[in-house]
């Protein structure tokens, strides 16, 4: 077995409290199974997510980062936080390549409180995708530099 196959990625999920976190809860209530690779961090609004958080997460060894918020245009509990997230994360995705990180490792998803299914599907899909990508390249660089 190659090392890549045994690789279990670690994914950090920043979820907004009102929609996406509730969606993740609904996946639980509905007992929808997904891989145990995600570690969820609750924030009040996707607009709270600083690109720096995402970069730090990658620096700390995350193999993927999921940012999830309320659906556009108007599900946001804080009126427009999701738009702010959209702009920031879109920009950040573009910049990621410069750090040597594949942009696919960062995902922005809109997940509502009634989309337990969707949340599980996103985690499943993301885990698969990152498995294919292999570990966070920053980690390897670190190993090499040591």
């Amino acid at each position: 077995m190659s090392e890549k196959n045994g690789f279990e990625p670690k994914i950090i999920g920043f979820l907004c409290n009102w929609c996406s976190y509730a969606g993740a809860d609904l996946a639980g209530v509905s007992r929808i199974q997904y891989p145990p690779n995600i570690r969820i961090i609750r924030v009040m609004c996707s607009g709270r997510i600083d690109p720096a958080f995402v970069l730090e997460a990658f620096k700390d060894g995350a193999d993927g980062v999921l940012v999830a918020g309320c659906h556009l245009p108007s599900d946001c509990h804080y009126i427009s936080g999701n738009f702010k997230a959209l702009r920031r994360i879109t920009l950040l995705k573009k910049a990621l390549a410069e750090f040597g990180i594949e942009p696919e490792r960062l995902r922005l998803e809109w997940i509502s409180a009634s989309e337990g299914d969707k949340f599980a599907a996103v985690v499943r899909d993301m885990t698969e995708q990152i498995k294919k990508l292999g570990p966070n390249p920053l980690k390897e660089m670190e190993v090499k530099s040591q």
Binding site: S30, R31, I32, Q33, D117
Partner: protein, 251 residues
């Protein structure tokens, strides 16, 4: 063993088993168990799955039972298995429950021989097994899942209590009503499990499933809805306007 000899498994309560001298036909294998109530319905189906063509259960003739009502439990098992077998499309007469006692007038060997003769007249199951057109294996594995399903088993376990004594509200459930309910559940669960088995091989559409199961697509869809509810199935992909479903692993 001659070819075309039906392979028969005989499970026998040890309290019946004392005729060591009994002549057992070569195509029959007799296994002793502590009590015929010990037999989990799943096991019988597993025997069929593994190539047994008929199964005879031999228990103490009611009301004799060293364990008070193990034979009554066996009767419940048999009745549910017969329903399942007809759904699987295996002749229910391939399963026989014989009440016997070591001193019965008719010898056990004769029972065995008669059963074996009867089975010989039926078409071989192993042929069904080989023929890819029949879905024997799919059916039997669905049936096994039904027999292993909590929903059915909890009712089987409580059947005697509910029909002979009273339920939690102090009401007695007429046996016929309970039987009807069990029958419905078995029918329903069998179709659901069959859908599950079929879609675990490859993703299938409602229409394809309907054809395979010979059921109206609407009914198939409603079963899929309920399988989804239990997280046993999910949409795999959509091809044009047709969703394809894939079974999800159940523990």
């Amino acid at each position: 063993m001659e070819k075309n000899e039906p392979r028969i498994a005989c499970l026998m309560c040890d309290f019946v088993f004392c005729q060591k001298e009994a002549q057992v036909p070569r195509n029959v294998n007799v296994a002793r168990v502590s009590c015929i109530g010990r037999i989990d319905p799943v096991l019988i189906l597993e025997m069929f799955e593994k190539g047994t063509e008929a199964v005879m259960l031999v228990g103490c003739k009611p009301p004799d039972c060293h364990y008070v009502d193990g034979n009554a439990q066996a009767e419940i098992t048999i009745s549910i298995l017969k329903t399942l077998m007809s759904l699987v499309n295996v002749e229910p007469e391939r399963l026989k429950l014989l009440w016997h006692s070591p001193t019965a007038k008719k010898s056990f060997s004769r029972h065995l021989t008669e059963f074996s003769d009867k089975m010989r007249k039926l078409a071989s199951l192993s042929l069904k097994n080989i023929n890819p057109d029949t879905d024997f294996l799919v059916n039997i594995s669905a049936a096994k899942k039904v027999a292993a399903d909590f929903r059915l088993r909890v009712l089987l376990g409580r059947e005697k209590e509910l029909t002979e004594s009273v339920n939690v509200y102090g009401e007695k459930i007429p046996f016929e009503d309970f039987d009807k309910l069990l029958d419905e559940i078995v029918q329903t669960e069998f179709i659901r499990q069959k859908i599950h088995v079929l879609t675990s091989v490859k993703p299938l559409s409602v229409k394809a499933l309907a054809e395979k199961i010979e059921l109206k697509p609407a009914a198939v869809l409603s079963h899929i809805v309920n399988l989804r509810r239990k997280n046993m199935i999910a949409i795999d992909h959509v091809d044009g306007t047709t969703p394809f479903y894939k079974a999800l692993e159940v523990k």
